[in-house]
């Protein structure tokens, strides 16, 4: 049983603004094992990206604050670290890939500089050693002709290639945990398939644990081993990927799966969930999905459902599940 790299317990993150407190993440718990890809799935403004930023403690000052919960990486509680110690974790133990390759790289520095910077910072290598590390990071992401590409500027590369460079930066210091925040959303279908296949291979080679954030179920099916479905700041269901697709229990999860059009058959009408996601400013009491849930009961409007462990690795928070 590969050991747990990251464990998050009851994480709460809020944004304190003029108009009130936005509870972006409201009690999220999960764990990620070595060599495992854990999916964080949900619609926009459900709190998945904020969860990622909280792990790196990079929330926008002064509004964003972690108000509760524990984050342990290889046994170290990240909340107890000071700014300097946390900086040593970032880029070395935990690294991250952002969504839009067109803006993730600094336009005025070469690709080689930007990768070398991370290597030099975290590995204290001699200059000529840094060059080799940079080339090997580019080669890890299978970027053709790395020796020339090192001197290119980001604008000379396609979107897909830039996202690989961002991947090289992330993997250059062999992190324990890689957070990928919608890395393939801005890419075309075939390039996206290439990128996913590449990262599955990298995971096999390096055993890095991956948290994959996305709203696209096709990507989830292709790369994730276990998935957590988020809605309005909390996790409604966590399960191995095949169970999520074949036997989802939480009404929101099954509704989402049904509303995705299938390529392998022609549907006449798509199942669609009525209404809108709630505003994070004044969250309704009780279960957040209650106002839109087809199987809602009285209690759902009053109290938040507890998280029930159904089988190994499959937990749901819904009053219908005892």
């Amino acid at each position: 049983m590969s050991e747990v790299v990251l464990r998050v317990e009851d994480l709460r993150t809020s944004f304190f603004t003029r108009v009130g407190e936005f509870k972006a993440v409201d009690g999220v718990s999960f764990y990620v094992k070595e060599g495992e890809t854990f999916g964080l799935v949900g619609e926009s403004a459900c709190g998945k990206s904020v969860t990622a930023l909280s792990l790196l403690r990079l929330l926008p000052e002064p509004a964003g604050k972690i108000v509760g919960g524990k984050i342990t990486l290889d046994g170290i509680d990240l909340m107890t670290l000071d700014k300097k110690e946390m900086r040593e974790i970032r880029g070395k133990k935990i690294s991250m890939i952002l969504q839009d390759p067109m803006t993730s790289l600094n336009p005025v520095y070469t690709v080689g500089d930007q990768i070398g910077e991370a290597v030099r910072l975290h590995q204290q290598l001699h200059d000529n050693m840094v060059e080799d590390e940079v080339i090997s990071a580019l080669r890890l992401l299978r970027i053709p002709a790395p020796e020339q590409r090192v001197h290119d500027y980001p604008f000379q590369m396609s979107g897909g290639m830039r996202q690989r460079v961002v991947g090289s930066i992330a993997m250059s210091c062999r992190p324990r945990l890689l957070i990928a925040d919608e890395p393939t959303t801005a890419l075309d279908a075939t390039i996206q398939a290439q990128y996913i296949a590449l990262f599955k291979d990298i995971q096999k080679q390096t055993g890095v644990a991956i948290i994959f954030i996305t709203h696209d179920f096709g990507v989830v099916a292709n790369i994730c081993h276990r998935v957590a479905v988020m809605y309005a700041g909390s996790i409604v269901e966590t399960a191995p990927t095949s169970i999520i697709f074949k036997a989802p229990i939480h009404p929101y999860t099954s509704a989402l799966i049904h509303s995705v059009p299938h390529l392998d058959r022609r549907d006449d009408r798509l199942y669609s969930i009525e209404g809108q996601p709630p505003s994070l400013l004044n969250l309704p009491p009780g279960c957040r999905f209650a106002p839109r849930c087809p199987e809602v009961m009285d209690i759902c409007h009053k109290e938040q459902p507890p998280t029930v462990e159904i089988s190994d690795g499959h937990s749901v928070s819904c009053w219908r599940v005892k």
Partner: protein, 309 residues
């Protein structure tokens, strides 16, 4: 290159402005104080005297601003020993009452600024939108004018006009407006270029709306914010320009009181009669400060994207 047809959700993320309480109070003040100061000065300018109502001798100002009385010349403000309460802020070297001149000066300085703002913003907006939306020759012509306006500060233009047409109110207004519309045109053209690429303008073309209708109904309403912000910021700048012209002797001709030439009057008496230059200087600073604070507040309220103005 990569077309933006990714399916990333673009739900409007909640606008998070983490201003602390102290910053919020400060921001509120930057609106209230300037509005009070500006309205006071505008009222002062309007009611300086009621000549425009046909009652020339009824006036807010204690004295006729141009009445010379050598007897009580160079009198300090009332709180100084030889100062007296009937000339609250003292008198200049020709015995004219500083307070009255300040009040009438407000009328001149404000009217110059407001008139110039109206002229320059109108020309700048029309040419900016035409240049930005239609492109081609209008845009090329516009860009050359803005190049020229860089080498021609208003002070130089004003001097030439003042000398040729003789310094007067209209000369000053004309001098500043001649090239004063260029910054407006440049800003509005930039905004129009940006708006022209956004989908709703293409949508208007699809339903067959004419270019004129698009410029009027779609482009213009969306450039009002930056326009208002620049106009407020211009208040201060214009008052200083008018004052500088008068200071150099090419602005409003004496004896008419303008804050600029009042500062000029006391220029070499700074050690003996400091108040002659100081009070108009303070008046100018107050109005300009209020204009700038109001402009900043408006920009943050209306369109934070335009921080660089």
């Amino acid at each position: 290159m990569l077309e933006k047809d990714s399916d990333s959700e673009t739900a409007a993320k909640p606008v998070i402005s983490g201003l602390s309480l102290q910053a919020r109070v400060l921001r509120k003040l930057t609106f209230i104080i300037p509005v009070i100061i500006l309205s006071l000065i505008i009222l002062m300018a309007i009611f300086a005297d009621l000549a425009w109502l046909g009652l020339p001798d009824v006036r807010l100002a204690p004295f006729d601003p141009e009445k010379i009385s050598m007897r009580d010349r160079l009198m300090p403000p009332f709180w100084a020993e030889e100062g007296s309460t009937d000339h609250l802020l003292g008198t200049d070297k020709m015995g004219r009452d500083i307070l009255s001149r300040l009040i009438f000066g407000a009328r001149i300085s404000l009217s110059v600024s407001l008139l110039v703002i109206l002229i320059t913003s109108f020309i700048g907006t029309v040419l900016g939108i035409l240049g930005g939306y239609l492109g081609g020759r209008t845009e090329a012509f516009l860009m050359r004018i803005t190049d020229i306006s860089l080498a021609f500060p208003p002070i130089l233009v004003a001097m030439l006009l003042a000398v040729s047409m003789g310094p007067s109110f209209t000369t000053v207004v004309l001098a500043i407006s001649l090239l004063g519309w260029a910054p407006y045109a440049r800003l509005i053209r930039g905004e129009t270029l940006r708006l022209r690429e956004i989908d709703f303008v293409a949508q208007a073309r699809i339903i067959g709306a004419s270019p004129f209708r698009i410029m009027l109904k779609h482009i213009f309403p969306n450039i009002i914010n930056p326009l208002i912000i620049v106009m407020t910021l211009q208040i201060g700048l214009l008052i200083i320009t008018e004052a500088s012209l008068s200071f150099l002797g090419v602005g409003i001709p004496p004896p008419a009181p303008s804050w600029g030439n009042m500062v000029n009057d006391g220029r070499n008496l700074v050690d003996t009669a400091w108040w002659i230059s100081t009070f108009p200087g303070i008046a100018i600073a107050l109005v300009v400060l209020s204009g700038n604070f109001l402009g900043d507040w408006l920009r943050d309220k209306l369109d934070p994207r335009l921080r660089q103005l």
